[in-house]
Amino acid sequence: MLASIIAAGLASGAIYALVGVTYNTMFSTSRVMSFTAGQLAMLGGVFGSMFTLKLGMPLIAGFLLTLLCCAIIGIITEFVAVRPVLKSLDQHLYVLSTLAVALMIQQIAAIKWGTEPQPFPRLIGLGSGVWDEKFWLPVLACAVTILALEYLYRRTLVGRAFLAIAEDNFAARALGLPERNLRIASYALAGIIGGVAGFSGGELLLAFFANGALLNFYGFVPVALGGLGNNRGAIVGGLALGLFQQAANFLVGGIFSSVAVFALFIVSCSRRRKACSAAPRHGEYDGRGDRLI
C-alpha cells in the first residue's frame, strides 16, 4: 500500500511540479501569472491522444507535434492576453485576460474533443504494478525537464538572457536584450513544458478537457509552496503535494483529500504572508504590486 501511495504520489506530484514550472516560466519574463498553465498541460494530453491514437501517428512524431501545438498556444497567449495588459500590471488585468483565454481553450477542447475522458495510448509498454510506466514516465519527464532547464539557464546565452530579464527587466532592456522576443520565447517554452506535463501524464490523467481547471489549481499550489519564480521550490513543492494528496486520499478518503490540499494552500499562503511583511528592499515591488518609492 505504501508503495502504491509513493508511486501514485510521485507521479501526480511530478505533473503538478511541471505545471508549477510552467507558471514560473511565464512569470519570469513577464511578471504575469497565467491561467493558461493548467490548460497547456490539459492540451498535452488531448493533443497527444489525438495525434497518436485518433490519427495513428508514430509516437515520436505525435509527441513533437503535440509540443509544437502547445508552444503555438503559448505564443498566442502572449500576443492576445499578456502583451496588451503589460502596461498596467498593477491593475491585475492579466488575471482576467489570461482567464478569458484559458476559458476559450477549455471550451473549444470540450466542444471539439468531447466532454468525456478519452483514453491515452500506452506509450512504451514497460513495467507493471507500481513500476508501471504511467507512474514513472511523469517523474522521468520532470527530471529531464529540470535538467534541460538547468542546462539552458546556466550554459546557454539565451538562458542567461532569460535570467537577466527575470532579475531586472529595466536593466536587461538597457543592456539591449530583445525583451519582447525573449518573452515570446519564454511563452513558447512554457507551452512546451506544459505539453510535456500533459503528454507524460496522459496515461494517468487521460485526455480530458476538465483537467485544465484542475491542474490550474493543483499546479499553482507548488508555486505557492515553493515561492513565485522558484523552479526548485516548485519541484519540491509539487512532489510533496502529490505525496500529501495520495496519503490524505488513503488516510481520510477521497472527499477530504481535496479539502486537505485546499487547507494546505490556504496555510501556505498565510505562511508566505509572514515572509512578505519583512521590510522590502529599496525600491522593490513589495509583493502587492505597489512601488513604495
Binding site: M33, V80, A81, P84, V85, Q91, H92, L93, V95, L96, S97, L99, A100, V101, L103, M104, Q106, Q107, I108, I111, A213, L214, N216, F217, F220, V221, A224, G254, I255, S258, V259, V261, F262, F265, I266, C269, S270, R272, R273, C276, S277, A279, R281, H282, G287, R288, G289, D290, L292, I293
Partner: protein, 604 residues
C-alpha cells in the same frame, strides 16, 4: 467644528438632512425605477418571464455582495459559484433533514448565510496580504473542491443523483409569489451593499484598491475591511444559493457549472468598478442573453470568455463609465489654487499635545547600502522642521521609517513618552501622524471630496454593522466627514472641484488634495514629502502660508523639500542629510553659513 454651539449644530443637522435627501435623489432614482420595473413585470409577463425574472433577482442577490469584493475592493473572485453551491446544498440538506431534523426553510436560509459568510472569509484569507492572483486561485480551487465534495459525499448531498431543493410555504410557492420573495431579498441586499458603498467603509475599500500605501497612512486596516465584506458577500451568495436550489426544485452538482461563476464575474466587469447600478444592469443583460441566443447555448462559456477579453482590452470602465456624464463636462482651464489658511482655525482642532516626535540613532540599510545611519531628529509641536539633502541622502526613507513603511534596524522613535512601534503604517493615523507623498497618491476614480474624506476614516465612530444597516451614527459620521472635507477643500482652495473625479485634476491640485486629506486627521504631526515639487512660484508662496497656518494650530511639520528658498523662509529648524548621516542641524541662519552644507548641497 468645536466652536459651533449645540443649538446651531442641531439646526445644521436638520438642514443637512433635507439637503442629503435632495442630493441623494439622483442616486436613488435609478434604483427605484428598477424596482418599479420589477413590480410591473407580473402585469405584463407570463410564467416564463417569472422564471427569468426570478433568476435575475437571485443572481443579483449574489452579485450585489460580490460587487463589493470585485468592484470596490478590486479582488478578483472568480469562483464564487462555490459559495452559491454551498448555500444551495446547506439549505436543501437542512430542509430535507437527512442529517439533522428538518428545519423550516426560513430558518435554513439564515443558517446557510452564516455558513456562507464563514467560508467567504476562509476562501478570502489569501487576499488579506498577498497578490490578487492568489485570491483568484483560492476561489477557483474552492470551486473545484466544492463540486468534488458534492459529488463524493453521497450520504448528505445525494452525489450525482442530487437532492430536492427547499420548498417555500404559501404564498411563496407559486411562480409569482416566489418571484416577489426574490425581488424583495434582492432589494434588501441592494440596500445593504449601497449602504456599505456610500459609507466610509466603501471609500476605504476603494482606497485600499487604488492607493493602498496612502490608505495605510490614513489608518485603514485592509484585513479588517476585507474580512467584513467577505462575510457579507459570502452570506449573500449562500442566500442566493438557497433561493437558487428552490427555483431549480432539484439540484445536482452539474447545476453549478463554472459558467455561472464567469457570469457573475463578468456582470460586474461589464457594469464597471465602483458602481452598483452598472453591475445590476450587467446581471440583467447576461441573464437575458442566453435566452435570446438559445442556439449558441453550447458556446455560452466561449462567448463569456470573448466578452471578458473585450471588456479588459477595450472598455475597462464598463457601463458605469459610459453613464458617467457628469465627468465629461470640461473643467475650467484657467483655474488657480487660492488657499484660505485663515479658515483653518474653525475646522482643525488645536493640537493640544505638547509632545515632541524624537528619533534616536535610527538606522536602516538595504543590502549593503546604508540608507539612514544613526539619525537623530526632533520635531517639536508647532514648529516646521526642514529635512534637506542631496538625492539619495535618506530623506524620504526617514519619512517612511516614521510612518512605518520601513522598520528601522536600530534606534528608537518616541512620541512624547510613548514609543512608536517600528513598521505597522496603519497604526500611525490614530497616533496623530499624517503625511503626503512624493508622487501624489490619490484615488483617480473617486471624487475630490471623497479623496479628502478618506483622510478622516479613523475619525468615524460607526461600526461596519451600523454602516451596513444605515443606523444614525453612520449618518452622523458621514455628515461630519463631508462637512469637514468640504471646509478643508475651501482652506486649500479647491472647493469648486469637490465633485470632480480626481484623475482629471492637475498635478499641483493633487498636491493640495493630499494636504487636505492629511488635515482631516487634525494631525499632531504632519510629514510633507516634497510638497512644492511641480508647483509654480505663486503656488509655492501660497503653500508656504498654508504650512505656517497649519503649524500655528500646534501641529509639528516635518518638511522634505528641494526648494531651498521655501525651506529657509519657513523652517524653524533644519537637518541636512548626506549619505544617510546628519551633515548639519540647526536654525536656518546657522545652516546657511555651514561650510560643508554649502559645498555639498547648496552650492555657492
Amino acid at each position: 467644528m468645536a466652536v459651533v454651539t449645540a443649538s446651531s449644530e442641531r439646526s445644521d443637522a436638520g438642514r443637512a438632512e433635507s439637503g442629503t435627501w435632495r442630493a441623494a435623489l439622483p442616486h436613488v432614482a435609478p434604483f427605484l425605477g428598477m424596482l418599479a420595473l420589477a413590480l410591473i413585470l407580473p402585469l405584463v409577463g407570463n410564467d416564463y418571464w417569472a422564471l427569468i425574472g426570478t433568476r435575475m433577482a437571485i443572481y443579483w442577490v449574489l452579485v450585489s455582495g460580490l460587487n463589493l469584493v470585485v468592484g470596490f475592493a478590486g479582488h478578483l473572485a472568480i469562483g464564487y459559484v462555490a459559495l452559491l453551491t454551498l448555500g444551495a446544498y446547506t439549505t436543501s440538506v437542512l430542509v430535507a433533514g437527512n442529517v439533522v431534523p428538518p428545519v423550516p426553510v426560513f430558518a435554513a436560509l439564515p443558517i446557510a448565510a452564516i455558513v456562507g459568510a464563514i467560508f467567504g472569509v476562509i476562501v478570502g484569507l489569501p487576499a488579506l496580504r498577498l497578490r490578487t492572483f492568489y485570491f483568484a486561485m483560492s476561489t477557483l480551487g474552492f470551486a473545484t473542491i466544492v463540486t468534488q465534495i458534492a459529488l463524493a459525499w453521497q450520504s448528505v448531498t445525494g452525489g450525482g443523483i442530487g437532492i430536492a431543493g427547499p420548498e417555500f410555504p404559501p404564498p411563496f410557492n407559486t411562480a409569482w409569489g416566489f418571484y416577489f420573495l426574490c425581488v424583495g431579498i434582492a432589494a434588501f441586499t441592494t440596500w445593504l451593499s449601497a449602504n456599505v458603498a456610500r459609507s466610509r467603509f466603501g471609500r476605504a475599500l476603494i482606497a485600499v484598491r487604488d492607493a493602498e500605501v496612502a490608505a495605510e497612512a490614513t489608518g485603514i486596516s485592509k484585513p479588517k475591511m476585507l474580512i467584513a465584506i467577505f462575510l457579507l458577500a459570502g452570506a449573500c451568495a449562500a442566500v442566493a444559493g438557497g433561493l437558487f436550489a428552490s427555483l431549480q426544485t432539484y439540484i445536482t452538482p452539474d447545476a453549478f457549472t463554472f459558467d455561472l461563476s464567469v457570469l457573475f464575474f463578468i456582470a460586474i466587469l461589464i457594469g464597471g468598478r465602483g458602481s452598483i447600478m452598472g453591475p445590476m444592469l450587467g446581471t440583467i443583460i447576461l441573464t437575458i442573453l442566453p435566452e435570446i441566443a438559445a442556439p449558441l447555448a453550447a458556446w455560452s462559456t466561449f462567448l463569456y470568455a470573448v466578452l471578458l477579453l473585450l471588456i479588459v482590452l477595450v472598455m475597462p470602465g464598463g457601463i458605469a463609465a459610459l453613464l458617467d456624464f457628469r465627468n465629461r463636462r470640461p473643467l475650467a482651464s484657467n483655474r488657480a489654487i487660492v488657499p484660505r489658511p485663515t479658515a483653518l482655525a474653525d475646522i482643525v482642532r488645536r493640537s493640544k499635545a505638547d509632545r515632541a516626535l524624537a528619533l534616536r540613532g535610527v538606522s536602516l540599510s538595504f543590502g549593503n547600502v546604508k540608507a539612514i545611519d544613526g539619525l537623530d531628529l526632533d520635531v517639536a509641536p508647532g514648529q516646521i522642521h526642514g529635512l534637506i539633502g542631496p538625492n539619495g541622502s535618506g530623506k524620504t526613507t526617514t519619512l517612511n521609517v516614521i510612518s512605518g513603511y520601513y522598520a528601522a534596524k536600530a534606534g528608537t522613535m518616541t512620541l512624547g513618552t510613548d514609543t512608536l512601534p517600528p513598521g505597522m503604517p496603519a497604526l500611525r493615523a490614530t497616533r496623530g501622524i499624517a503625511r503626503t507623498f512624493q508622487t501624489p497618491r490619490v484615488i483617480g476614480e473617486a471624487s475630490v471630496l471623497q479623496n479628502v474624506m478618506i483622510g478622516g476614516t479613523v475619525e468615524g465612530r460607526a461600526t461596519f454593522l451600523e454602516a451596513l444597516l444605515a443606523l444614525p451614527r453612520n449618518a452622523q459620521d458621514e455628515r461630519m466627514l463631508a462637512g469637514k472635507a468640504r471646509a478643508l477643500l475651501g482652506v486649500v482652495g479647491l472647493e469648486t472641484l469637490a465633485d470632480v473625479r480626481a484623475d482629471r485634476l492637475q498635478h499641483s491640485e493633487l498636491r493640495f488634495i493630499e494636504i487636505a486629506r492629511a488635515l482631516m486627521l487634525d494631525p499632531d504631526f504632519l510629514l510633507l514629502d516634497e510638497p512644492a515639487a511641480g508647483l509654480s512660484g505663486d503656488e509655492i508662496d501660497r503653500l508656504a502660508e498654508l504650512i505656517k497656518a497649519i503649524t500655528a494650530r500646534g501641529t509639528g511639520v516635518l518638511l522634505v523639500e528641494h526648494h531651498a528658498d521655501l525651506i529657509f523662509d519657513i523652517c524653524h529648524q533644519i537637518t541636512v542629510l548626506n549619505l544617510g548621516r546628519i551633515l548639519a542641524a540647526g536654525t536656518p541662519a546657522e545652516i546657511r553659513v555651514h561650510k560643508e552644507v554649502v559645498s555639498a548641497y547648496l552650492g555657492g
